[in-house]
């Protein structure tokens, strides 16, 4: 990775004051031609998985082959996730913001020749709005982006996360400089309190209040204190934190340093999932570069304040997202949570006062300090200020990462930004808050997305995963899925969680096989109550939520399983049969060849049949059939 001294081409690069930082920003900006064309290639995990690295390589080769003169030579910039993952790999041409989607390496030459040299767009790579059918040229006009309000994500997609010069040019670390130069620690805490910021990790505890009680704990217990970033984003379907860490690592770092300054902490930890290697890499690079610039480490910006950070890689345990489990994990032990009757701001890491916030919360801090709490309060709604980043996944057209102000209705996110469910029907439900959250049915589509409204609807904000479900998704199956997930991820220390969740899952398993009774539903509720009351940590006590909310909104569907032995959504294997529609079957034999159990028979070019007794309902035939002839009932 780039060494700062080389990247900045300066000899003595250590910054010693806020003015130094301003000067450096100016120097970087003045060295850049705003009109110089720039090809931005998304290097988020989604796009990388779709081959964006090959695309950027191809673009580089194509540039070299085109033999463009050095003066107008466009830069190729690789950035963090731009959010519109379902369309990756994404390529943007700046200035202007021409937006290409699903770019393949072989398109590189054409992009260079047509767009850069001749200024013409490559039509087939442009985004076509599925709703209107219009082709849209620029990023800012695409509904997916147009309807968002990118505050926390404002740098992502614009800067190269591995080059601190980009961050500084975009105004990074100015909030830190401001605080160190002109604010007391107390003022920083006051700002955060005034902003109304609530933790983005799930429960929505007011961040300012947390910091305040930590300060109080320090009064009696003294130092050291610790600040910790919770980057153990374990909720399946959530990748907001990953995107922030990958795309704008300095924002997290700056927020953490500010927090450390406010509390007088000298040591911080970032606990990041090992499944996010890129995020770890980018954070490490960011730390190295910040250290070299004197923004981290000894005597930051000559203010006399010293602070350093270490990254802990998670080792694969969802429960380590729970604060006390995370602490024991940092201490090098199995991540068993401990009861929180003494709060972690008083007794956290190594029994010391500790402030733990998740990635997105930390990334909000520089914004609040930089632009002031009043500016921040104007975003969102009272009691839920600011914006929230959501990962919009599941049965939705525009899968990706979106940022909206708090308080917008669910439908605005799913239908306007997300483009609705493929096929055009209304969504069935939106699952928010991951395994600890619940479902918002279509009937509540106008529920405002803020902490309190979601809780009222029986769900929760959680870390921000929004999973859209359509009529093809079965709530019993989704409940089973989450319970199985939590059952596997439970640390197993307390009985209600270890055994209660298993039992709940077993009851749902029975439902999905058409076994069970209404009494079982009653038992399920009573057991869920016992688990909520009895579990030791938040993982267990929130685990019954998905089941309880679906029972609340989709009881009929449960009853259909129990009483009629049918799965209305056609998901539960034991309650469905696969048949071949003789009218549509062309006798191509491809299903018969793929069937793992050899239970499809039929002559060539004649309609086939499935032996339902032998069928293991793996669904491969349905997947294979090109003519949609395999039916589920």
């Amino acid at each position: 990775m780039s060494n700062v001294s080389e990247a900045l081409k300066i000899e003595d690069w250590r910054l010693t004051s806020a003015e130094d930082l301003k000067a450096l920003q100016k120097q970087i900006l003045s060295g850049r031609d705003p009109n110089r064309p720039e090809i931005v290639v998304c290097h988020g995990t989604g796009c990388l998985a779709n081959g964006s690295e090959k695309v950027s390589d191809a673009l580089r080769t194509a540039l070299a082959d085109a033999g463009i003169e050095a003066k107008v030579m466009p830069g190729i910039k690789t950035t963090g996730c731009q959010g519109f993952c379902s369309r990756g790999p994404l390529v943007l041409i700046r200035p202007g913001g021409l937006f290409y989607q699903r770019v393949k390496p072989k398109d590189a030459t054409e992009i260079i020749e047509k767009t850069l040299l001749k200024g013409e767009p490559v039509k087939r790579l442009l985004y076509k709005d599925p709703a209107s059918g219009d082709t849209i040229l620029n990023e800012q006009d695409i509904p997916f982006y147009k309807l968002q309000e990118r505050v926390v994500l404002h740098n992502i997609g614009k800067i190269d996360p591995t080059d601190i010069a980009d961050t500084i040019a975009a105004g990074g670390y100015q909030a830190l400089a401001k605080a160190l130069a002109g604010m007391t620690a107390e003022q920083v805490v006051e700002h955060i309190e005034q902003s109304g910021l609530r933790g983005r990790g799930g429960a929505g505890f007011p961040t300012g209040r947390k910091w305040r009680s930590a300060l109080k704990a320090i009064e009696t217990k003294g130092r050291p204190v610790y600040v910790v970033v919770n980057g153990d984003e374990g909720d399946p379907g959530a990748f907001m934190d990953r995107t922030i860490m990958e795309g704008d690592p300095h924002a997290v770092l700056e927020g953490l340093i500010l927090g450390a300054y406010a509390l007088g902490a000298e040591k911080g930890y970032m606990y990041v999932r090992a499944e996010y290697p890129l995020a770890i890499k980018h954070l490490e690079v960011a730390m190295v570069q910040a250290r070299e610039l004197g923004l981290l480490g000894e005597n930051i910006l000559n203010s006399g304040f010293s602070f350093d950070v270490r990254i802990n890689r998670g080792a694969g345990a969802f429960v380590c997202g729970e604060s006390t489990a995370l602490f024991t994990s940092i201490e090098g032990k199995p991540g068993n949570p401990r009861p929180k009757y003494v709060r972690s701001v008083e007794e956290g890491l190594w029994g010391r006062p500790t402030i733990l916030n998740n990635v997105e919360t930390w990334a909000n801090i520089p914004l609040i300090i930089g632009k002031g709490p009043d500016w921040y309060k104007k975003l969102g709604v009272p009691h839920s200020t600011g914006t929230k980043v959501f990962s919009l996944v599941g049965k939705v057209n525009n899968v990706g990462l979106v940022e909206v102000p708090m308080g917008v209705p669910v439908s605005a996110i799913v239908e306007d930004i997300g483009g609705g469910v493929p096929g055009g029907q209304p969504f069935k439900a939106v699952q928010t808050g991951g395994p600890s959250g619940g479902c918002i049915p279509y009937s509540l589509k106008d529920t405002a997305v803020d902490f309190d409204s979601l809780t009222k609807a029986g769900s929760m904000m959680g870390s921000g995963a929004m999973i859209v479900m359509d009529e093809g998704d079965c709530v019993v199956d989704v409940g089973r899925y989450f319970l199985r997930f939590l059952e596997e991820e439970s640390c197993g220390k307390c009985l209600p969680c270890r055994l209660g969740l298993s039992r709940m899952r077993e009851i749902l398993d029975n439902f999905s096989r058409g076994r069970g009774s209404e009494q079982d539903i009653e038992d399920l509720i009573s057991l869920a109550q016992a688990v909520q009351d009895g579990a030791l940590c938040a993982l267990g006590s929130s685990a019954p939520n998905p089941v309880l909310t679906t029972l609340r909104y989709f009881k009929d569907e449960y009853l259909a399983h129990v009483n009629n032995q049918t799965c209305p959504a056609g998901v539960c294997k034991e309650l469905i049969t696969y048949t071949i529609d003789p009218g549509l079957c062309t006798g191509c034999t491809s299903c018969a060849r793929q069937c793992p159990n050899n239970c499809i028979s039929g002559r060539k070019k004649e309609p086939h049949t499935i032996d339902t007794d032998q069928c293991i309902r793996c669904g491969i035939c349905r997947e294979t059939c090109k003519f949609d002839a395999v039916r589920v009932s």
Binding site: S490, G492, K493, G500, D533, L536
Partner: protein
């Protein structure tokens, strides 16, 4: 002195006591399994849950680790508490069907059968981890520990083989609330079940 009530009975405690300790001091019954006086409480079995009431609002806490606080209103036999307790006993009866001790205790609290399916009729360990805590805190060895996680959680020595670290003091056997340690102990100390030499008379 810290004054509060348990089941509407006025009690007073010293700072540093837990709700359970205070209750026992006053002779109020709260069931426990993973609790032992010789080690720090861990709050794993959740049998000792009690309800703290505050107006309309209430919460359940594990009394073995909950420090006493001025003015709290503790109840040990509410509907919510009993619901948790009943389910835990049912779970225990299903996971440790072979444990005589569990059966007796559950019966004392009115749970004699379970509707949960029994997966392993010979199992008697509930993985409360008491043995491991005693090995660490009392004996000072950590020859055994709680291994794995979730439903696979189990007690054992590293690699589930006999370990040199074990001094075969048997403290783990003595604290085990379910009698499960008897068989695990033989694996840990590396002694196959063998017949004893009997006293010649």
């Amino acid at each position: 002195m810290i004054d509060f009530t348990i089941n509407n009975q006025k009690v007073s405690a010293q700072p540093g006591w837990t709700v359970l300790e205070t209750a026992r001091y006053y002779g109020i019954d709260i069931p426990t399994l993973c609790y032992h006086e010789s080690v720090k409480p861990s709050g794993a079995c959740r049998l000792c849950m009690v309800e703290l009431k505050e107006g309309d609002w209430s919460k359940l806490v594990a009394s073995c680790i909950y420090p006493v606080q001025e003015g709290i209103d503790v109840h040990t036999e509410t509907e919510r508490v009993n619901n948790v307790r009943r389910w835990i006993f049912e779970m225990l009866l299903a996971t440790c069907p072979a444990s005589e001790e569990i059966r007796e205790m559950a019966a004392r609290y009115g749970v004699v059968s379970t509707q949960m399916p029994v997966h392993d009729p010979d199992q008697n360990c509930m993985v409360c981890g008491l043995c491991a805590r005693v090995c660490e805190e009392v004996v000072g060895l950590s020859a055994i520990a709680v291994m794995d996680r979730g439903v696979h959680k189990k007690i054992g020595s590293p690699f589930l083989r006999p370990t040199d670290v074990c001094v075969a003091c048997g403290c783990c056997v003595s604290v085990c609330p379910t009698g499960a340690m008897q068989s695990i102990f033989d694996t840990v100390r590396g002694k196959p079940a063998m017949e004893m030499t009997q006293l010649a008379v």
